[in-house]
């Protein structure tokens, strides 16, 4: 009931402030420089193997993996941007007290929250997913081709990975909605997103690999699940020998479950509260 108008309003909310394109622009530049720069660096290393030092031969992944690794920066590094967009979409309603006009126009609060969830899922994939993956594939494929390495653009597996990566970005935006509902304080939400994605989770994932039991748990961390869904990642190669990684569809389900669970809990803890 009234779900489609509610989704329409949520899309309009996203695209009528500057936040979405500021975040998308940073995502594009950041991932473009990172993927292009590293692809050029690896290309140079392959051309000059004597420069890569003592263990040089083992440091460079095989060619096909290299392309996938560079491209996947879009999600494995860029996922913080859709999370931020999703979290801000919820917390700004609290911060600017727009919950009042929102709930006056549609007093069915659950409908509003799930409409936001759906709208952010779509924008996370269609806008941030596509922009992020375009930003990584363009410069990285160019740099690899210049170094006579295979950009693997004719490999269907590459494009399957792109599709899974875009799905991951969509899911991350939905996770952001759940997080924003759980932590309606905007500053706190931003700090949590940055600290968790850039610091806490990478350390947890590294520490988890030290022991078989924790490794079993560690693969359910959201970042690990996301990497499993995409199927190639800097972390999964860095965490050599752990071998503990979910199937791609399992990773997607874990991420979706996190998004739904946080949104549900947030609905009961903050979204249903009195708006004063």
């Amino acid at each position: 009931m009234r779900f489609l108008p509610a989704i329409g309003a949520e899309f309009a909310k996203i695209f009528t402030t500057r936040m979405w394109w500021v975040l998308a622009l940073i995502l594009f530049v950041y991932i473009g420089l990172l993927a292009g720069g590293l692809a050029a660096f690896f290309g140079w290393l392959v051309a000059n193997p004597e420069e890569s030092g003592a263990g040089g031969a083992t440091a460079i992944p095989p060619e096909a993996d290299l392309a996938g690794l560079m491209y996947s920066f879009a999600t494995s590094v860029g996922y913080v941007f859709p999370v931020l967009l999703g979290a801000l979409a919820v917390t700004s309603e609290f911060r600017h007290q727009t919950l009042t006009p929102t709930f006056l126009a549609n007093p069915h609060r659950a409908v509003v929250l799930w409409a936001k969830f759906a709208a952010l899922f779509v924008v996370g994939g269609v806008v941030f997913g596509v922009i992020g993956w375009a930003a990584s594939i363009g410069p990285a494929a160019g740099a690899l081709a210049l170094s006579d390495l295979d950009p693997a653009l004719d490999d269907p597996e590459t494009w399957a990975m792109v599709g899974r990566g875009i799905l991951a970005m969509a899911l991350w935006a939905a996770v952001g909605v759940g997080l924003g509902a759980l932590v309606p304080n905007q500053v706190a939400a931003i700090v949590i997103v940055i600290a968790f994605t850039q610091f806490v989770e990478p350390i947890l994932r590294l520490v988890a690999t030290l022991n078989d039991v924790t490794a079993e748990i560690g693969k359910y961390l959201p970042g690990a699940a996301s990497d499993a869904l995409v199927g190639a990642s800097f972390y999964s190669i860095a965490a050599m020998g752990s071998g503990e990684i979910l199937e791609w569809w399992q990773g997607g389900l874990v991420l979706a479950a996190i998004a739904v669970a946080t949104t549900l809990i947030g609905y009961f803890t903050s979204w249903r509260r009195d708006v004063t």
Partner: protein, 344 residues
Amino acid sequence: MPTGVPIEIDGLSKHFGGVTAVDDLSFTVQPGRVTGFLGPNGAGKTTTLRVLLGLVRASQGTATFGGQRYRELERPLETVGAALEAASFHPGRTARNHLAISAAAGGVARSRVGEVLDLVGMTPYADRRVGGFSMGMRQRLGLANTLLGDPGVLVLDEPINGLDPEGIRWIRGFLQQLAGEGRTVLVSSHLLSEVQQSVDRVVIIAKGRLVHEGTLAELETDSLPRVVVDSPDRPALAAALEAEGLEFTTGRQGLIVDEPDPARIGHLAFVAGVELHALARQKSALEDSFLNLVGEQGVSADDGGADAPEPTSATKATDTADDAAAEHPSPPDEPEPTDGKGAE
């Protein structure tokens, strides 16, 4: 033309933790009139309106539009237009986009956005971001928002706050026009003087309780008009008043006498040979009456000489309410109309 339905507040209470914001409040607002909802800051006006609009859960009682809670309204924006204090807009969004979002969410035709911007005179600023708006512009935008669905009921919280004199005159005429079309118009304010020229009826609350419901004329007769009189020789004047058996108090500008007729005071002073340099009927009978109603209970009780049923009933309400609050220190978790329709 949309016609209004009555607003019915019935036995409404709201506790925030241990604080009682609204206390067993009941009143009705009829269509076709502008009703002022008055009380000092913190009296519970905004809380009452937020409960009415489904933004805050009632602890007890109901607040409905023609018997329906806000959440039960089929098309809320086309039934009720509401503008609440602390006008809430995202500063980075334009006026037009704010209205477009409400219209989209409420299922109102997009063409209404331009129409309501015109109605409130905001068209020249429609595509500016709200962050740079003055209070008066925000008020106008809030009013435009209420008119989106062309509703039969308007609920406006302090709509006059921040308007310039020209804007105040405009909104008074506008509210009268809306009521004249048969709509229900409820306007809150903490200043009687702000609304007394534009409202037909008043509902006055203090400390969350009803203290007066009726017409402004009724409010005026509640407090007998008094006379302010002053003399260079106040003791002589006081003696002359006492000789006539008149009650009076000493005010800043002279003696305030419980007597509506200045001529009588002038005559007795003349007869007693007391020189006067001030003699006038106290002008602010209405404002006084209002302040007495919302002020300390003691003041109301002192004032209640002849027939002042409100202070008495308010005092009773206090006792009952205090008992009730003592029995239920924490608000009971009342089952709410479910809004879990997302599951459908």
